[in-house]
């Protein structure tokens, strides 16, 4: 079993912030409270995804390990974390 921590990067770049990651900032507090040290969560500057073509409309982006969560909401991100954890268990 791989003990590697899951990394969650909440994009706090301007595009993501305005399109909704302002409301994802709570993850930075709630995720450690929920998952302890299994998950690392932080706010990061622009992930570079918003400027490709018209992809601003899919912001806010969150990266859970290598997986990109588009139009992220708190629920979507938690679900992605749970899935990653379940995979690790296997």
């Amino acid at each position: 079993m791989d003990e590697k921590k899951i990394s969650v990067k909440v994009c706090l770049g301007t595009t993501c912030f305005v399109m909704g990651s302002a409301n994802l900032q709570e993850l930075i507090e709630t995720v450690p409270a929920k998952y302890g040290d299994k998950v690392d969560v932080m706010g990061v500057p622009c992930l570079g995804l918003c400027s490709i073509d018209w992809e601003f409309s899919k912001a806010p982006y969150v990266k859970v390990d290598d997986e990109v969560v588009k139009e992220a909401t708190v629920e979507k991100v938690l679900k992605a974390i749970d899935e990653k954890l379940a995979q690790q268990e296997k």
Binding site: L12, G13, T14, T15, F17, V18, M19, G20, A22, N23, Q25, E26, G43, P45, C46, C50, S51, W54, F56, S57, E71, T73
Partner: protein
């Protein structure tokens, strides 16, 4: 209710704004505007919200109409967005009524009424039948039935049902409006009565379909900048909690949009504080029982339209926007001034003030940054020419205005602040009572904020309330306080 809850509708509104700005900056504004609904819902695209792609496009088209600053109610369905874009470009000044309702999006909710659910047990006691003063309830086939022709929506039956089987179905906009200015008409569409509307923006925030739109002035501002005019931004204090950057970076970022300079409205708030403190002393020395603040545009409109008896108690001091605009126009008579606002109410105030040419809200400013690909956190820092006080910068937080005024009062005339943190039916009743009695038993300085949490809770803010408060408070704490030498002499 939580302040600034996240909403999918904001995402849509902001996306439209970004697309409008991009199309303005492109080489074919009119045609690219016409294409917005098709770009957002191209052939074969999934249909996320409505019955079919055509309806989705029709609604997006209407949202774009509001983004162009036009009234959705007044435009005909047959008018192309390209024609309307041209119209927006040619107008000399913004339209007067600041809100418009997207009736195509509005069909979704049923009119407010009382509804008997399946939980009804057809009990023997039948308190619903007995309490109804209008004889609207009868029992048929062992269940209570409401006769809609007789029901007056009073809700008494819902209160007495022992099974909680009767529910009051609300219309969110009607329910949120503190002055009864928006209602669903016979045709099922919500309509705003502008004789009553105080522009508080609560319906904008409450509608789950995002059907109430502010009429944007973004095209007007873009046009002035493109024409090479000297356009100056006046940013209301709440903005310092809105975006992930320092206030100095924000100033630089706004200049990158094409603004010639940025003034903090907190600068004008310092004038408001001094004037209002002096006024408070004078009023109390002349025997007044209390005074209310006068900086919230929503509250001012409330007094003007619904509580005229409060006028003698409301401070005559002007708002921070007023003083700031006066300063800017004095220093730059040739400037076009744009107020950056957290709420719709300031649009109304600006329309009445010749020194304020346009208003942009924080969502629109955010969309503009997106359209230009500006990362505010990567901007260099640009200093404000005049620094405002900590107290003035704290105006955006509920209680902040009263606190600022208090700082300058002489010891002999202390203020006992009463904070109205958000207008609703109850706080309006309280205010009416104070005005009628000519006194308020709770204190002598009543601060009124139309939005819960103060301007940080405004309908057009971008950041969530808690982090916004934290960020703004850091800025306030790093600013210089008012000096005690500035205190008002008795």
């Amino acid at each position: 209710m939580a302040i600034n809850t996240p909403k999918q509708t904001s995402h849509l509104k902001r996306e439209i704004l970004v697309r409008l700005i991009k199309s303005f900056l492109s080489d074919n504004f009119e045609e690219n505007t016409r294409l917005i609904p098709y770009d957002m819902r191209p052939k074969g695209h999934e249909v996320p919200y409505r019955c079919c792609i055509y309806k989705e496009r029709a609604i997006l088209r209407d949202r774009a109409v509001a983004g162009l600053g036009l009234s959705i109610e007044k435009t005909d369905d047959s008018e192309l967005l390209s024609t309307l874009a041209k119209k927006a470009l040619e107008r000399k000044e913004p339209e007067d009524k600041p809100l418009t309702v997207l009736t195509t999006a509005c069909k979704g909710c049923v009119p407010a009424r009382i509804y008997v659910t399946d939980l009804c047990q057809g009990c023997v006691a039948r308190p619903c039948v007995n309490t109804c003063k209008f004889g609207a309830i009868s029992v048929q086939n062992g269940k209570s039935v409401i006769d809609p022709a007789k029901c007056k929506n009073c809700g008494m039956c819902a209160q007495v049902c022992p099974y909680q089987a009767i529910q009051k179905i609300i219309v969110p906009c009607e329910n949120a409006c503190p002055v009864g200015a928006i209602a669903k008409g016979e045709d099922g569409h919500a309509k705003i009565d502008f004789e009553k509307c105080i522009s508080c923006g609560k319906c904008v925030a409450a509608c789950p379909f995002g059907a109430v739109h502010e009429k944007s002035q973004i095209i007007d501002v873009l046009k002035n900048i493109k024409a090479g005019k000297k356009v100056i931004a006046m940013v209301a204090p709440a903005i310092m909690g809105q975006l992930p950057c320092t206030p100095q970076q924000l100033k630089e970022a706004i200049q990158e949009l094409g603004f010639a300079d940025v003034y903090e409205v907190a600068q004008g708030a310092d004038v408001t504080t001094k004037t209002e403190a002096a006024e408070f002393v004078e009023r109390l020395e002349h025997g007044a029982e209390f005074m209310t603040t006068s900086c919230c545009a929503g509250y001012n409109e409330l007094v003007d339209k619904h509580i005229p008896e409060m006028k003698p108690f409301r401070s005559d001091t002007k708002t921070p926007m007023y003083y700031t605009a006066e300063i800017v126009k004095k220093e730059h008579p040739d400037a076009v001034t744009v107020f950056f606002s957290p709420c719709v109410a300031k649009r109304r105030e600006a329309l009445q003030n010749p020194n304020v040419d346009y208003v942009l809200n924080y969502e629109e400013v955010g969309a503009w940054f997106i359209a230009l690909g500006i990362q505010v956190a990567e901007c260099s820092e640009s200093k404000f020419k005049t620094e405002a006080s900590a107290e003035a910068r704290n105006y955006a937080v509920t209680g902040g205005v009263a606190k600022a005024v208090q700082t300058l009062l002489p010891e002999e005339i202390p203020a006992h602040p009463v904070i109205i943190d958000g207008l609703n039916k109850q706080s309006i009743r309280d205010l009416k009572k104070y005005a009628k009695n000519g006194m308020c038993e709770l204190g002598n300085l009543i601060e009124v904020m139309a939005c819960t949490g103060g301007c940080l809770g405004g309908n057009a803010t971008v950041n969530a309330y808690k982090p916004a408060l934290k960020q703004l408070t850091n800025y306030v704490n790093s600013s210089e306080s008012l000096k005690s030498s500035e205190k008002i002499e008795k």
